[in-house]
């Protein structure tokens, strides 16, 4: 039987006002690549880092006057797990596609501009990879596109 993925979950409730803690939490969950399962329930594949990061966010929720608990668990069936993984892969694929599109748009730019774009896209790619738990094929395409841009930038002016 295939191994189930263990998950770490943050269940939280935040006061409606002020809205700053809410948007700060949302931004941090997004950066971690968490799946928002319901309003007030976010999940990440379990590892030491994700668990710790969600625990800090739980503390931030409590400090902002809300309630938060950390759960560790697995989905009830392989089917549901595949569905969640597919949903997360699809979301991250969109981010990789945006990188690929930015490379396409930079093809005709001047070399100086291309070099700056390359730096930005490499950083962006690194951030996306850090929250990519179920790599979609778009990842390889985005990496290839950025490498092509790098080759273009390196090309001697002839």
């Amino acid at each position: 039987m295939p191994q189930r993925t263990p998950w770490v979950l943050l269940a939280y409730r935040l006061p409606r006002d002020p809205s700053t803690p809410r948007s700060s939490l949302w931004r941090k969950l997004r950066r971690l690549g968490a799946a928002q399962l319901l309003d007030g329930l976010a999940a990440l594949p379990l590892d030491a880092r994700n668990r710790e990061q969600l625990e800090w966010l739980a503390d931030e929720v409590v400090e902002a006057g809300g309630e938060a608990t950390i759960w560790v668990g697995e989905l009830g069936s392989m089917g549901q797990e595949r569905e969640l993984a597919a949903r997360m892969a699809e979301a991250i694929a969109g981010e990789y596609n945006a990188v690929t599109e930015d490379v396409a748009a930079a093809r005709e730019d001047r070399a100086g501009r291309q070099r700056r774009t390359l730096g930005r896209l490499r950083r962006e790619l690194r951030r996306i990879r850090a929250r990519d738990y179920f790599p979609p094929p778009e990842r390889e395409l985005a990496q290839q596109a950025v490498e092509e841009l790098a080759a273009l930038v390196e090309e001697p002016v002839g």
Partner: protein
């Protein structure tokens, strides 16, 4: 004094331990626990959920130490930016050395236990402090 933190230290805890030894308590002894309830009564806990010397208001524990102990040395605040980004990577600060520090400490924690990790990271943090100090004094990256 005895200080307690969670086992399997990463960058924030290692940097806090360095800060404690250098600026707060040169005789510091560290205890590593799995659960907050295991903290010995005579030890001060840090970088654990629900304790004073931990993450607060988006700060990492290292920043909390600077605030609580009123360590206003501007070099330490430059240092804190690197620790914050290596620990949280939330882009509150621009600290390009942070991803490298994160990898070095994470890798070290895979091949050494906590005691050794703290001992080995000490000279690394001494060097980072010195580098940031020279950068601050000269206004440019030292070489």
């Amino acid at each position: 004094m005895r200080w307690a933190t969670r086992r399997h230290c990463h960058v924030d805890r290692a940097a806090c331990a360095w800060l404690i030894r250098r600026f707060i308590d040169p005789e510091a002894e560290f205890v590593f626990v799995d659960d907050p309830e295991e903290v010995p009564v005579d030890a001060t806990p840090f970088d654990m959920r629900g304790v004073e010397l931990s993450h607060h208001g988006g700060d990492c524990s290292f920043e909390t130490f600077l605030r609580r102990y009123e360590l206003s040395d501007p070099v330490l605040w430059e240092f804190a930016k690197v620790v914050h980004e290596a620990d949280l990577a939330d882009e509150r600060y621009d600290a390009p050395e942070a991803p490298g520090l994160d990898v070095l400490l994470r890798g070290l924690s895979m091949v050494r236990d906590d005691e050794e990790l703290l001992a080995l990271s000490e000279p690394l943090f001494d060097g980072l402090y010195e580098y940031r100090k020279r950068a601050l004094l000269s206004g440019r990256e030292p070489a």
